[in-house]
């Protein structure tokens, strides 16, 4: 089709290279972007981990002077911010990028350039946030940035401004990625793959993306308001002008509680893929897992004030939020039974990814139960701001999200790279992490019950907290050692490659049907999907009768027994042949989107623009040309240049 369109003059030719730096800056391949996300987030994971270890060293013994109070404040603020926004979210994004197109039988995401844009904004935003270390004035008001402690009155340094600008830039990246995955999952499914045949990880990604798209703007508003207070002297959270610091808490936690489900739901999706594979059974109660995930996402919007039980909202509000918080444990509990049901009478293979997933169930259950404890306002009043809460959320975020992510890393690594991670080192990695984790955060329950407050940089000798704190610090070193073993494993396995086949685990979903690592175009032919876990049933047709009964003789009408069939047999008769495979250039004639440098240019513009709020208006102005160049160039650039 040759049609006229507006064009924008190019300063540089459109990147075409397959290797070298430009191949990465210009890439729009979801697999490469996933790799970039993974590597960047892992580097931040090491940074955030070192921050945590420094905190633990300081707390190892009473009256320690390893860190001064200011450094301690900066470290715990940046540890929390880094782990939430620069580690768990982007590590999940790495899995979204790698897996979603492969799982739904697509060749890329719906908007490949937007996908690249998300990554570059994330990278530059995370760098900007951490530039604050160089200024010597890193954010120090906690990852929740409570007003009025975050105001210029009580926090005159530039640290919290870095925090708020950094988070707003990262929010742009998250929203763009969330929109992209919503559209990709709804619109790019392979023929026959109806919503209830989606792999469960894809479902959790969809739910997470909806949460991201709805929750991040709330954080953006909180950020804009705080920035405006700090830079322009408005009164949003300033009680001298009538503002109410509690509004910050309301807005922040209205974002913050959906955010914890943004962190955990992808890990739940990973575990829900790993368990069926190594139990060699379909996921038990698939629709329940889907609806429980959706219920969590919905109810997650009505529980935020349980972070604020001690603020004094009154008995009516506290009771309402206590009830909703206890209720949200129900769909979460449903999932735990689904996982147990999946394992029940399964033909279980215990290897590294499986052990991580099983540990996830156990640790997440502990974290979930301590969460239900402080759903009760009187109990919470005792636990608020103590180490008990620290123990709780590390059990769900490390014992939950992180173990789930590690399970996913070991599980999909052969798919991503074409070779296995070493199993012995993997088991060492798993054992050290699990033991170290429990040694680190288990004693914090005791410390919290014993009244040790959070965020104190040291404590007196006669408080009786020394032993538990020492244990906790030793545990954190073991945990760190576990991560070190993982890094060693990556390099060791790279040097002693044990090659993986396309389907090394006898997998269930479509990503295992393509070579490891997948070719740039992913699928030679777009697959036809008939069943949930279609790839499994294609390999093991003899098991179809076990789970499906054909109500009609017509094979195409096969209906899963006991599960709903949404009757949407759209596009069953699509010819699955790449027609122009032999003509055209590259990738067997399959047209992939061309590379583009505009997403990078636009993200540079946005970051410079954001940096302007930290310096002066000239810098804001300096961001504008990049912004316009990126935006206009991008909007007038066709996905594929005419040949």
């Amino acid at each position: 089709m040759t049609t006229k369109s507006l064009t924008f003059p190019r300063l540089f030719p459109r990147p075409k290279a397959d290797t070298g730096i430009w191949s990465w800056i210009g890439t729009v391949d979801h697999k490469r972007i996933g790799t970039l996300y993974g590597i960047t987030a892992f580097i931040w994971f090491i940074v955030g981990g070192i921050e945590a270890l420094l905190l633990r060293v300081q707390l190892a013994r009473p009256e320690n002077d390893f860190l001064d109070p200011e450094a301690f404040n900066q470290l715990f603020t940046m540890h929390g911010t880094t782990m939430v926004f620069l580690v768990v979210m982007p590590l999940s994004a790495a899995f979204f990028n790698w897996l979603i197109p492969l799982q739904i039988g697509a060749r890329d995401v719906a908007f490949p350039r937007l996908n690249a844009f998300s990554f570059w904004v994330f990278l530059l935003g995370s760098l900007l946030l951490n530039v604050s270390w160089i200024t010597g004035d890193a954010p120090n008001g906690g990852w929740f940035g409570y007003a009025p402690n975050s105001s210029t009155t009580f926090n005159p340094g530039i640290g919290m401004t870095y925090w708020v600008v950094g988070l707003n830039i990262l929010g742009v990246a998250s929203i763009a990625a969330g929109l992209n995955f919503i559209v990709t999952i709804l619109n790019m499914r392979a023929p026959g793959m109806t919503m209830f045949k989606l792999p469960i990880f894809t479902w959790m990604t969809l739910i997470t993306s909806v949460l991201i798209v709805l929750a991040m703007p709330v954080l953006a508003v909180a950020g804009i308001q705080l920035l405006s207070d700090r830079v322009y002297g408005t009164y949003f959270f300033d009680s001298l002008g009538g503002g109410d610091p509690v509004l910050w808490q309301n807005i922040f936690w209205l974002f913050g509680h959906p955010e914890v489900y943004i962190l955990i739901l992808p890990a739940m999706g990973i575990v829900s893929e790993v368990l069926p594979t190594f139990a060699r059974k379909p996921l038990f109660g698939y629709p329940f897992v889907v609806f429980a995930g959706a219920a969590i996402a919905f109810m997650g919007w009505f529980v935020w004030a349980h972070h604020m039980f001690t603020v004094g909202l009154g008995p009516a509000a506290n009771s309402a939020f206590a009830i909703s918080t206890m209720l949200i444990a129900v769909p979460t509990g449903v999932k735990i039974f689904n996982w147990l049901g999946t394992l029940w009478r399964g033909n279980i293979r215990l290897n590294t990814p499986m052990l991580f997933s099983i540990s996830f169930i156990a640790m997440f259950t502990i974290g979930g139960l301590s969460g239900v404890m402080h759903a009760s306002p009187p109990t919470d009043a005792q636990q608020q701001d103590t180490y008990f809460v620290v123990a709780h959320f590390h059990y769900v975020l490390v014992g939950g999200a992180l173990l789930g992510i590690f399970s996913g890393i070991y599980f999909w690594w052969p798919k991503f790279t074409g070779w296995f991670l070493n199993e012995k080192l993997g088991l060492t990695n798993w054992a050290l992490m699990l033991i170290g984790f429990n040694f680190t955060f288990g004693p914090m329950h005791w410390l919290g019950m014993d009244g040790m407050p959070r965020r104190i940089y040291t404590y007196a000798e006669d408080m009786g907290w020394e032993t538990s704190n020492l244990f906790s610090t030793i545990g954190s070193m073991l945990l760190g050692l576990g991560i070190l073993v993982f890094i060693i494993n990556v390099f060791y396995s790279k040097m002693n490659k044990k090659m993986a086949s396309a389907d090394p685990w006898d997998g269930r979903t479509l990503e295992w049907s393509v070579p490891s690592p997948p070719p740039p175009h992913d699928f030679d032919e777009i697959p036809q999907v008939k069943y949930r876990d279609d790839f499994w049933f294609k390999k093991h047709p003899e098991t179809i009768a076990q789970y499906y009964h054909d109500e009609h003789d017509d094979q195409d009408q096969a209906v899963p027994s006991g599960a709903q069939f949404d009757g949407d047999d759209e596009a069953v008769a699509v010819p699955a042949v790449a027609e122009n495979k032999s003509n055209g250039h590259g990738h067997g004639g399959i047209h992939l989107p061309d590379m583009s440098y505009y997403p990078f240019v636009l993200s540079v513009g946005i970051t410079i623009f954001g940096a302007g709020f930290l310096t002066n208006t000239y810098v804001i102005a300096a961001g504008v040309p990049f912004f316009l160049w990126g935006l206009l160039g991008w909007s007038m650039e066709p996905v594929n240049d005419p040949e």
Binding site: K4, L6, I182, L186, V213, F236, V574, A578, H591
Partner: protein, 214 residues
């Protein structure tokens, strides 16, 4: 779905599992996100309504007749938008261009009203740093104004495209998506107009405000 889904890359953008254009679905999802964005600002405004410690208070400064005119102008731009899309789909190029230009002009007039209003308020002593009303008013209407401005620039490009013939009935989706955005920004203004101008217009000083300060 057609064979395009199995062969080319761009094709899945319009030939999709749901049958909806991916770009259109994307805009709807973005608007959902924007609802939360405006919703939080509007909630902030409502929480702080009547809590300003010093004047000028809304009752002393808001001019409802003038803002009603600018509201009417913005609502008419939505009508122009609908007509523009209608003519574009019909292939009536000149009429389409004209009505897209009408959107641009009406949007610009609305922004003109806002600029004048902001300046007047500043002269009368209301800035974001005066009181809570100023803080919440300028941020909420300012963010909305930014949305309108982005829309106007976008429409200007589309008007140029329509004039040049690069925006035609076969790619009218470009205009339809911009239209979704435009109508949304319009609807948000109806809420803002109601919440700030109609509901708060009589708000004076809160009881005891003067005694707190003096």
């Amino acid at each position: 779905m057609t064979q395009a889904a199995t062969t080319g890359y761009q094709d899945p953008i319009e030939n999709t599992s749901t049958g909806l254009s991916s770009r259109k679905l994307m805009m709807w999802a973005f608007l959902a996100s924007d609802v939360m964005f405006f919703g939080t600002f509007i909630a902030t405004y409502l929480v702080y309504r009547g809590k300003s410690l010093v004047g000028p208070y809304p009752s002393e400064i808001l001019d409802i007749p003038v803002t009603s005119v600018s509201t009417f102008v913005l609502l008419m731009s939505s009508l122009a938008m609908v007509l523009a899309l209608h003519y574009l789909k019909n292939g009536e190029k000149n009429k389409a261009t004209l009505w897209i230009l009408a959107v641009v002009v009406l949007g610009t007039v609305f922004m003109g009203f806002q600029v004048v209003e902001f300046r007047l308020f500043a002269q009368e002593g209301l800035t974001p740093r005066t009181n809570l009303f100023g803080t919440t008013f300028f941020i909420l209407t300012g963010i909305h104004g930014a949305h309108v401005t982005i829309g106007v620039i976008w429409m200007a490009f589309l008007a140029y495209g329509s004039h040049k013939g690069t925006l035609r009935s076969d790619n009218s989706m470009d205009l339809e998506i911009a239209g979704l955005y435009w109508h949304f920004v319009d609807i948000v203004w109806i809420v803002i107009f109601t919440v700030i101008y109609l509901i708060s217009a009589a708000d004076g000083p809160p009881p005891g405000a003067e005694t707190i300060l003096h």
